[in-house]
Assembly symmetry: C2
Homo-oligomer: 186 residues x 2
DNA sequence: GTTTTATATGTAAGTATTGACATATGGTTC
DNA sequence: GAACCATATGTCAATACTTACATATAAAAC
């Protein structure tokens, strides 16, 4: 099973959904640390169905194109539960901006600074979005007595990482800008 | 040009090196945010040579297998300098551990906690390594009067990101462990 | 003496992901 | 009336990366 397969099972374990629904959730940074396009999602769903981890229900619609609702099966839940506690490798980080920072000694500081201003802005925006999301998630979780076996806890755990990540990334960008500004003024 | 091509040019802009040397630098987390295997590096070097961005010098050796030393050309330096200040997309983060955290509501806390202890350990170790490296790099940079056009600055900038990243990741793992411990004791 | 390790360079098959192509419905905007 | 957008599902080619295969030298470990 691919990681994307587990991503899809992880989402379907919370609620049934169509391929389109899943693609919407995975298309960008919402509350979650995985991204995928529909072109990868549809074939993966077909594989999950073949393997018996999900079942599909065809839903005809009149005002919109027909859709297919996917539901996780008992077999799917079993493999998902086993996978969650299985050891996992540390992900490889490949960040082109850090690579550019590594090569920054070749550039004019004034030309390079815009690069880091743009990324500082982006990560600050995303941080604010995650923080708003976190506030709402914490409220939802509280209504369920802050149980660790609630899906809300999973969302909070991942958004917590998103907040830390964006905070740190934005701080690094600001540090880079400082260094560059100092070099420009000298 | 691929990103790996720029990685290799970025390294060769500092000093000539063989494919093996480059593979050593890129094989794991040393001072840098890019990883690649020799199986990807050798073909990429051949492409860079074809494009005229590097030249190769065959060096026969008696006590070891012969090697090929690659040097960046003026054309290579030109494209590298242009690339450094060019805008770049925000990298997509795909982290299986965060995904597991998202699905953690499906697992027994006692079974899941080992996962986060292992990763907390790993990121703490890597952080210490980066911090030792940083101390040495800062000394080297100081001897050159902390010039921003020194390669040392590039190394420091990337290690700075590595330190922030590992610090934050380790902190998140510890937060996850806390949550899980609390759930176990309840 | 045999195995292992470091040096040194490659190829080939398979997987993961992206970007483009492809089609169809119905509502909204211009 | 035409163009565009959201919904909805798919395929295909290309790229990026990993894993395994493949070979050769010489020193060091056992």
């Amino acid at each position: 099973m691919t990681t994307l397969g587990h991503v899809l099972l992880g989402l379907l374990a919370r609620a049934p959904a169509s391929g389109y629904d899943l693609a919407q959730k995975l298309k960008g940074p919402v509350d979650f640390f995985w991204q995928a396009r529909h072109s990868q999602i549809y074939p993966e769903l077909a594989r999950l169905e073949q393997d018996g981890y999900v079942v599909v229900q065809h839903v005809p619609q009149t005002e919109r194109p027909d859709k297919k609702i996917y539901r996780i099966t008992d077999a799917g839940t079993t493999v998902l539960k086993a996978w969650v506690i299985a050891p996992v490798e540390v992900p490889v980080v490949r960040d082109e901006l850090v690579l550019k920072a590594y090569c920054l000694w070749l550039a004019h500081p004034a030309a390079a600074i815009e690069l880091f201003r743009a990324h500082a802005h982006h990560h600050t925006e995303l941080l604010a979005r995650y923080q708003r999301n976190q506030g709402w998630l914490l409220e939802q979780w509280a209504t369920e007595g802050r149980r660790i076996d609630s899906p809300w806890f999973g969302s909070i755990a991942s958004i917590q990482r998103g907040i830390g990540y964006e905070q740190e990334y934005a701080a690094w960008c600001r540090w880079m800008i400082e260094q560059l500004e100092q070099a420009i003024s000298d």
